[in-house]
Amino acid sequence: MQATSESDVIKLQEGFKAQALTPKQLVWRRFLRHKMAVVGVVLIIILVLYSFGGAFVFSEADANYTETSIRLSPPSAEHPFGTDTVGRDILARTIYGGQISLLIGLSAVIVEVIVGVLIGAIAGYYGGWIDGLLMRFTEAMFNIPQLFLLLVMAKFFGSKIPTIDVGNREFSGSVIVIIVIIGITSWMYLARIVRANFLSLKEREFVLAAHTTGTSNLSIIFQHILPNSIAPIIVSGTLSVANAIISEAYISFLGLGVQPPTATWGNMLEGAYNYIDSAPWMWIFPGTLIVLTVLSINFVGDGLRDALDPHALVEAK
């Protein structure tokens, strides 16, 4: 049995040798093992296709077209989701409302991450009185329930921002207001995480090394420390998208959010409780879409948390 020469054995062994995975691949594999997270991603893709692809079927004029003679008509072949109090087609409105709701969710989180990371990084890196001041401010913001703060701010900015034209579409200025106020009322948690991360990382050797080579503070903060605390930022940012969508729904539901005719899933529900009995289709469809979106984002966030957990690196197969 000299058929397998020594070199063949080595070749065979090499075939078995596991390819070393990069951290990115590891994260990806762990994420895929989280089945609900994958379901979440698929759902999000479907929802995005629904609200952005649907725009090719219905124009925005369809979504805002009022026809009072058919107001509050139940779902039918012509209006699959029924019509609302002024006869607008609910299907078309959930499509355009979805665009705005998703846009608000994402942009509000961008605002939140910018504010949260800046405040957390500065407080954690510089410490001392800057830290004290910023953290007192964070604590003060934390102590007012977010919804109350949101409502006061929604009233404060009110109709101070005019309607904006992007391309050939009109955006009610209230969309911008909602994005900004959700962003600036939700960064506190993120700031605390980032600060805690910076506090521990700035004592590490690589930061010391960066100092000794004369790297500037700015570069240390953004190029050396920040990339090391990106995992918790991603997780908390993802979950914040869900919160932002819910927050938008709450303020719009209470009538202080995005103003009609611009539709959002939240403001489609405003006043719907007057029609619980007579027109349930008015709230069932936008409500279900909100729940689906938030649910799938939460799944993805949960999956990311598990996948990005550095302690899990070792056990990954």
Binding site: M36, R136, F137, E139, A140, M141, F142, N143, I144, P145, Q146, L147, F148, L151, V152, M153, K155, F156, G158, A242, I246, A249, Y250, F253, L254, G255, L256, L269, A272, Y273, I276, D277, P280, W283, G287, I290, V291, V294, L295, N298, F299
Partner: protein
């Protein structure tokens, strides 16, 4: 411990001052409280001028804030508009317990208006919180002990859905099901809005009946998150050495779970509940609006929409104080329950 408590209370004061300045500046710019004072007609310019002078709304923000904080009975106010202040002010300021008079319900103290509504919010929130705690302990414990069983998987899925639902959607669905459809099907149905049926009057049975749906909605949302938390805590605790010891000395399962594991697993829940008080109060705004419950949350929305600064500020400050107190009490209770924790 006493020193810790005193220090925390002292720290709370600057915090409350920051909060109040922040909110006061925001509130003053939210709109025009005088616009609706003329009743159905638009307020006349001369009335507007007189009212804003008498209410002190013509003063700069800093002066208004100081009057709000410490009162103006030490200063003279120009009431008749001749340019010379002559009448001593009547306000005592928040620091002396005077939240000012409501701008909407003229002549009524903001404090009285809030206190009228506060009990209504509390009879909704306190039972809801108690039910939430009991349910999430039971559910969390059950699914931890039967980890990965079918029921555990179902509970996990349901709690994820419950956790992702905005409260108004749960409220709408439960109203639709138990209020509207049960009535349609001829089953005993639940009332959907208000605190009592005006034809029957404000009897305890009526209030209880009207409390069912709001409490149900709040329970579904909150218990979903809490039970997940209890589950993970419980899983951690039952894998510890002292539980194995208890098992090996032959203690019955019930004793191990209730006597040994539950106490340690439920501990961190105290912190979560303490931190969630603001969330609970925020949820009250939506819950009360949708169920037309005459509580503080609805009062807030109504008076915010008419820029009634004294009432809105009163509610916000009371909530901020409640939040700070809740956090302090949480810390104290936690230290008392868990002897490993010492504050200095």
């Amino acid at each position: 411990m006493t020193r810790y408590i005193i220090r925390r209370i002292l720290q709370a004061f600057p915090l409350l001052i920051i909060i109040s300045i922040l909110l006061f500046v925001l509130m003053l710019n939210t709109g025009d409280p005088l616009a609706t004072m003329g009743g159905r007609k638009a307020t006349r310019p001369e009335d507007r001028e007189r009212l804003s002078r008498q209410l002190g709304l013509d003063k700069p923000v800093t002066t208004q804030y100081i009057y709000w904080l410490v009162g103006n009975d030490w200063a003279l106010v120009d009431m008749d508009g001749d340019g010379t202040p002559e009448t001593p002010g009547a306000r005592k300021g928040v620091l002396r317990g005077d939240f000012g008079n409501s701008l909407v319900s003229r002549g009524k103290a903001a404090y009285d208006i809030i206190m009228e509504r506060l009990p209504n919010t509390l009879i909704l929130m306190i039972p809801a919180e108690i039910i939430v705690i009991i349910i999430s302990l039971l559910v969390g414990m059950y699914s931890a002990l039967r980890q990965y069983s079918l029921i555990d998987q179902i509970i996990t899925a349901l709690s994820f859905i419950g956790y992702s639902m905005p409260i108004f959607f749960v409220a709408l669905v439960s109203m639709y099901l138990f209020g509207v459809n049960f009535k349609r099907w001829g089953l005993p149905y639940l009332p959907t809005v208000g605190m009592f049926d005006p034809h029957i009057g404000k009897t305890p049975q009526q209030i209880l009946l009207h409390m069912v749906l709001p409490i149900l909605s709040m329970t579904i949302i909150t218990a979903a998150g809490y039970s997940r938390f209890v589950r993970s805590q419980m899983l951690e605790v039952i894998s510890e050495d002292y539980i194995r010891t208890a098992r090996s000395k032959g203690l019955p399962q019930r004793m191990i779970i209730l006597g040994h594991a539950l106490k340690n697993a439920a501990l961190p829940l105290v912190t979560i509940i303490g931190l969630d008080i603001p969330l609970l109060l925020g949820g009250a705004v939506v819950t009360e609006s949708i169920f037309a419950w005459p509580g503080m949350g609805r009062l807030f929305i109504d008076h915010l929409s008419r820029s009634d600064t004294p009432v809105v500020m009163g509610i916000l400050m009371m909530i901020s104080i409640a939040v700070i107190l809740a956090q302090l009490i949480t810390d104290i209770v936690y230290a008392w329950l868990d002897p490993r924790i010492r504050y200095t």
